[in-house]
């Protein structure tokens, strides 16, 4: 059994509106999996269910066989799942370097230590520096994160997500609001940092995922209507009707 994430008969309603209607999904170890779908398909809701921001109305979520439905965010993070946010979600008054360091502390077992000097935690600082390099922001290390440009904040956000060394990474529209050059740059970054890791990303822009994902699931009105390798999805008639058709118009 190599499924890292399993969604089993997942339902979510807000009041009387059913947003997620029976989603089943398996993502294998080391797979880059993209969930795409038109606006309002429930992508973000699905994402927030997997990352425990919302609790499902019915169904289960398993992480490496363990049920994580209705766990607290920090518990899920401690089990090796790390997420980014669609709206930029950083620590604005701390420096870029410190943002990354916060992402690494728990995972590197420093937990609730109040007796160690962070400046002397060589392993944490090395890791933060490496991530800083990976996201191409070495020259911005001491800048308060709140004053970064939008694209830089998104890159930092991804940096925080991977700084803890989690094996399962969830990204929510990492290229939203970016121009073409920034998008290409970000896709390259995601490809690099998710090497040998399991990635689930939610994306609206199809061109972003075709080059990146091993498998793609298409979500329409809260249901997955197709799931498979990119080429298969591109040729799928139902997908073209529901999604690609809209793009062509």
């Amino acid at each position: 059994m190599t499924a890292v994430i399993e969604l089993i008969d997942l339902y979510k309603s807000f009041g009387s509106t059913e947003v997620i209607r029976g989603v089943n999904l398996e993502v294998g170890d080391g797979e880059r999996h993209a969930v795409i779908g038109p606006n309002g398909a429930g992508k973000s809701t699905l994402y927030n269910l997997i990352t425990a921001k919302y609790t499902p109305s019915a169904g289960h979520i398993r992480l490496r066989g363990q049920d994580i439905t209705a766990r607290k965010p920090y518990e899920i993070n401690r089990m090796g799942l790390s997420r980014s946010f669609q709206v930029t979600n950083i620590f604005p008054r701390m420096s870029v370097f410190e943002n990354l360091r916060c992402g690494a502390l728990w995972a590197m077992n420093y937990r609730y230590s109040f007796w160690q000097d962070v400046d002397r935690l060589d392993d944490v600082n090395e890791r933060s520096l490496r991530v800083l390099n990976d996201i191409g922001m070495l020259s911005r290390a001491d800048v308060p994160a709140g004053v970064l440009s939008y694209a830089e904040q998104r890159a930092l956000e991804i940096g925080i997500t991977i700084a803890g060394g989690a094996n399962v990474i969830l990204l929510d529209e990492p290229t939203a609001g970016m121009n073409r050059a920034e998008t290409e740059h970000t896709v390259e970054l995601v490809r690099r940092i998710t090497e040998h890791k399991t990635l689930i990303m939610v994306e609206h822009d199809m061109s972003v995922v075709f080059g990146l994902a091993d498998r793609i699931s298409v979500l329409v009105y809260g249901e997955i209507i197709a799931s498979g390798p990119p080429d298969e999805i591109r040729g799928n008639a139902a997908v073209q009707e529901a999604y690609l058709g809209e793009e062509v118009d």
């Binding site: 990352t51 920090y74 993070n77 728990w106 160690q116």
Partner: protein
């Protein structure tokens, strides 16, 4: 040790050099009584040191952790009560050197921090603020109800010289007590600074900035807040313990909301965004309180004015104002600001004199004895029944304000130009 989130570079050098600031601070503290010898100035210094610890502990909540507390005196006062009870018991023959008494206050603060924090730190923001206010009021009321413990309105007294002497020191003189308090102050400040540089201290900043994100890097926002809260309670308790051994009396005043408000004022006036901010605030506040009260009965009113002015015009506090000028000073451009500052300083001073004059005259009207019509103010003798003084002060206040408002934009532009030069040069 300036900013709460300083640069990430690892401090290098020997233990001695890395802690240079602290050694200098210790030296200053040791030498101060040689400069300020009189009994009153030592008393002021003692109060100042206690307030420095208390304000720093408060800033662990507000500045570092983003928790606005209206009831921090609870931990200060309870620490004081526990310490004074210990002093009474120890006076009866128990082995307990006086220098260790504040630790009992600290432990009491820590314990109550754990109890109260366990249900009040789930969220920051309004909920936390309201709970802290409620608890503050409750404990203050209890201190008048549980008379056995608190001594009611008279409070609890003890004699510090009854305690076991340590190396023959009985702490009879004010100076001995000063060294004891100052030693605790430097130690506490150093520990609090170290705390801010630990994983928990850093995550306290992270939770303050963005609790949701903090949870998604593995930390429970509640646990991080609770740890900060307990540490803040511990150091507030130490300050309370020092209060007990300094004044040898602890009353309801130490736990009440006035004291909670005072510590908030001190931290805010000093600047909650900087580690040294509360130190500056405590020093300035104590000076205002002790010096100003020699000259005027309405000193608290002036402190209130200063607080409002800080909130409105300098939300980063006195330390923030100083820090704004640091880069300009470094490139030697401070002189270019002298003229603009003079231009706004003179009307601002005029406005201040006018306001002070009006306030003092008004106060005099309400408290004067029958038939008394002249008041001495500054070096003048003023007749309150003649309109002259009123008109002059009124004109100064209004005129100064209007002129200051008018020149303010040009002064701001001068500062911006100077600071742009400073940053431009550093980038190159």
């Amino acid at each position: 040790m300036s900013a709460i989130a300083p640069a990430s570079t690892r401090a290098s050098g020997t233990f001695l050099r890395r802690n240079a600031v602290w050694w200098i601070a210790l030296l200053c503290v040791l030498l101060l009584p040689q400069v300020a010898r009189s009994g009153t100035s030592i008393a002021v210094l003692n109060q100042m040191c206690i307030m420095v610890i208390f304000s720093l502990s408060y800033n662990m909540l507000l500045g570092q952790g983003g928790m606005l507390s209206f009831g921090h005196a609870v931990y200060f006062g309870l620490g004081g009560y526990f310490a004074i009870h210990l002093m009474r018991i120890a006076g009866g023959g128990l082995f307990m050197p006086l220098p260790l008494v504040p630790l009992a206050g600290g432990l009491a603060g820590l314990l109550f921090g754990l109890i109260i924090g366990s249900f009040s730190t789930n969220r920051a923001g309004t909920v936390f603020a309201m709970i802290s206010l409620g608890i503050g009021e409750m404990i203050a009321a209890s201190s008048l109800i549980f008379v056995k413990f608190s001594g009611g309105e008279e409070g609890i007294t003890a004699d510090r010289t009854d305690l076991t002497s340590l190396f023959g020191i009985r702490f009879r003189s004010e100076v001995d007590v000063y060294y004891l308090i100052a030693g605790w102050m430097v130690l506490s400040a150093w520990l609090m600074y170290r705390f801010s540089r630990t994983p928990v201290g850093r995550m306290a900043n992270a939770v303050r900035d963005n609790p949701e994100r903090a949870e998604f890097v593995g930390y429970s926002q509640k646990h991080i807040r609770l740890l900060s809260f307990m540490a803040a309670g511990f150091f507030a308790g130490i300050a309370g313990g020092l209060f007990a051994l300094n004044y040898e009396i602890v009353t309801e005043e130490t736990v009440n909301l006035v004291t909670s408000g005072t510590v908030l004022l001190q931290a805010y006036i000093g600047g909650v965004g900087f580690f040294v901010g509360p130190i500056v605030g405590a020093v300035v506040y104590t000076l205002l309180q002790t010096l100003l009260s020699n000259y005027t009965e309405i000193w608290a009113f002036y402190v209130g004015l200063i607080f409002v002015a800080t909130v409105m015009y300098a939300p980063t506090g006195l330390t923030g104002i100083l820090m704004m000028h640091l880069p300009i000073y470094r490139v030697g451009k401070l002189r270019s600001l002298a003229l603009p500052y003079l231009r706004i300083g003179i009307p601002a001073l005029g406005c201040a004199i006018g306001v002070i004059g009006l306030l003092e005259l008004l106060h005099f009207l309400s408290v004067r004895a029958v038939g008394q019509s002249t008041k001495r103010l500054f070096w003048l003798t003023l007749n309150v029944e003649q309109p002259t003084a009123w008109l002059v002060f009124g004109a100064l206040a209004v005129g100064g304000f209007v002129v200051a408002r008018r020149v303010a934009p040009s002064v701001l532009a001068a500062w911006e130009a100077a600071s742009e030069q400073a940053f431009g040069r550093r980038a190159r």
